[in-house]
């Protein structure tokens, strides 16, 4: 029971995806191939990978890939192309007659039904595009940064609803927001320069990023030698200033901080055995010096990660 796509050699994308039913996040820097992957799955990317869903292959006759309209997929791009001369109601009704009033309340499109796309903000257009895709009622819902213009709170509500209601057996969403990917997905798949890494649960991904670039992408800002040839990664959001043995791994270090470039920021520097890791964090902290840090769910990896923060 999985959605699989294998990208062979020769193309930009390399590797494979294998997603069981659930909500899956797709992450990667700009230009890494997230949109290319989703478009291939939707059947819009030209000749592409062999895609199977629950064992059945999405292939038409003579080895041609199945066209998009024959795939059990609803795809929402980042910039949705709502038909400019049709009302929102007619566009949703066109996708699935009688569904215009059944858009989920969380999308807040009921007041927009009589309007035309040009009368909507970018965020509203994205919500309408999602409502339209939901009306298609397909097995696989592909969302390509499709809520990028929706305000933070509303976006969070929609993501929560998608995770709770699961309107499609497979939901795959690409995002630049790490916290969103980690919080609302069952697995996270990372793409770097076209290379697709195996999907991992958010916790497992944070525990074992495959390489330094991925670690940095996940928010790690440096590492200290663990003593056994391995390295302990430092993540600002998982680091407590001071020694709290009951909460995680305590490392003795010389910690101090200075005001950051902005009023809400503070620069932190941690020195240990000749290595320094520094980062910018939130300004609120009861201390600005300490002799140790505590790493919550410390990640140990076989590579080192240089700190890229420059200390003034």
């Amino acid at each position: 029971m999985s959605l699989r796509a294998h990208f062979g050699p020769g193309g930009f994308l390399q590797g494979e995806v294998d997603w069981p039913r659930g909500v899956h996040a797709l992450m990667g820097p700009s230009g890494s191939g997230k949109t290319t992957l989703l478009r291939h799955l939707a059947g819009l990317g030209g000749p592409g990978p062999a895609v199977t869903l629950d064992g059945s292959r999405w292939q038409a006759i003579a080895s041609k890939p199945l066209p998009p309209y024959r795939r059990p997929v609803a795809y929402v791009p980042q910039h949705p192309s709502l038909v400019p001369f049709k009302t929102i109601a007619s566009q949703i009704a066109w996708i699935q007659p009688g569904k215009s009033s059944l858009a989920p309340p969380v999308l807040d499109v009921s007041a927009l039904l009589s309007r035309f796309p040009k009368e909507l903000s970018g965020g509203q257009q994205q919500q309408v595009a999602l409502a339209r895709a939901l009306a298609a009622d397909q097995t696989v819902l592909l969302l390509d940064e499709s809520l990028s213009q929706v305000d933070q709170n509303q976006r969070r509500r929609i993501m929560q609803w998608l995770g709770r209601a699961r309107p499609a057996p497979w939901i795959v969403f690409s995002t630049h927001q790490l916290s969103e990917a980690l919080q609302f997905s069952d697995t996270v798949t990372v793409i770097q320069e076209g290379k697709i890494f195996a999907a991992k649960t958010p916790d497992l991904l944070l525990q074992s990023p495959d390489n330094p670039a991925m670690a940095r992408f996940l928010g790690y800002c440096g590492s200290f030698p663990a003593g056994d040839g391995r390295h302990i990664l430092i993540h600002p959001a998982r680091t407590l200033i001071g020694a709290y043995p009951g909460l995680g791994l305590v490392l003795e270090a010389d910690v101090h901080s200075l005001p950051g470039p902005g009023p809400l920021e503070r620069r932190w520097s941690v020195k240990r055995q000749g290595n320094t890791v520094s980062w910018q964090g939130v300004a609120a902290s009861p201390v600005d010096r300490a002799r140790a840090i505590t790493l919550i769910a410390a990640a140990t990896v076989p590579y080192s990660l240089d700190s890229q923060e420059e200390w003034p």
Binding site: L44, P68, P72, V73, I95
Partner: protein
């Protein structure tokens, strides 16, 4: 100052553009009711209307699929070649077009021989329609292609990716989006068909269409009667493009 000068130049340009129409309306109106009573005039009006309708139907039936097909041609070289061919056909002097058609339809050629065995190749209703189609087709295809091509591919792709077939997408998205441009293409082709003279005068002197009849009237009766007949031609050919341009609220 610059704005005022620009306005003045524009007004002068518009007056110059309107002058032929004004002269035609004033001078042509003098013999307008009796213009159709001259020998062959009424028949030429009928021929123009009938051949125009048939030519328009053929152009629509052939040109519309061609315009849509050209939208989907993946090869830029093919698209460029198609564009050049159509522009050359559009810019070819109608008289030259008529000479080429006359050569092709002549009994000495294979095509002319075959056509003559079926039906009179030149100086026939068939030849008139062929001449009108040749003169008007590039206008229609180029304008329709441009209109269809202006529709973003993303509109279609989004619909396909929401489980809509190409035919459903055509009906809901492509056709309504391209309709204004297709109407303009139709209006331009119609004006061109009705006014076709260069090619018909060579290959289809008979049955005589209105533009050729106007030429005959100049030679046989004089300019005032010809102007009145020309007014009939304009009344058939130009209201549609004029009305459409007015409705779209923009210049062609």
């Amino acid at each position: 100052m610059l704005k005022r000068a620009g306005g003045l130049i524009t007004v002068l340009t518009l007056v110059m553009a309107a002058l032929p129409v004004l002269i035609l309306l004033t001078e042509g109106a003098r013999h307008f009711p009796s213009a159709l009573q001259s020998p062959g005039a009424l028949r030429s009006l009928e021929v123009t209307a009938l051949s125009g309708a048939v030519s328009m139907l053929v152009i629509f039936a052939v040109g519309l699929p061609a315009a849509y097909w050209l939208r989907y041609v993946p090869s830029p070289a093919v698209r460029r070649a198609a564009g050049v061919i159509l522009v050359l056909a559009l810019l070819m002097p109608p008289l030259v077009l008529g000479l080429v058609l006359a050569y092709v339809l002549a009994p000495a050629t294979w095509a002319g021989q075959w056509l003559n065995s079926v039906h009179a190749a030149s100086n026939s209703f068939f030849a008139l329609i062929l001449a009108e189609i040749y003169e008007a087709m590039p206008y229609f295809v180029l304008t329709a292609w441009s209109a269809v091509n202006a529709i973003p591919r993303a509109w279609e792709e989004d619909a396909w990716a929401l489980h809509k077939t190409p035919w459903q997408t055509f009906r809901f998205v492509l056709w309504p989006a391209s309709r204004p441009g297709l109407i303009t293409a139709t209006a331009m082709a119609w004006a061109r068909i009705v006014g076709a003279f260069g090619a018909p005068v060579v290959v289809a002197y008979h049955p005589t269409a209105l533009p050729v009849q106007i030429w005959i009237t100049i030679e046989e009766t004089g300019l005032p009667q010809a102007l009145s007949l020309a007014l009939w031609l304009v009344l058939i050919g130009l209201p549609l493009p004029g009305l459409l341009t007015w409705r779209q609220g923009r210049t062609p």
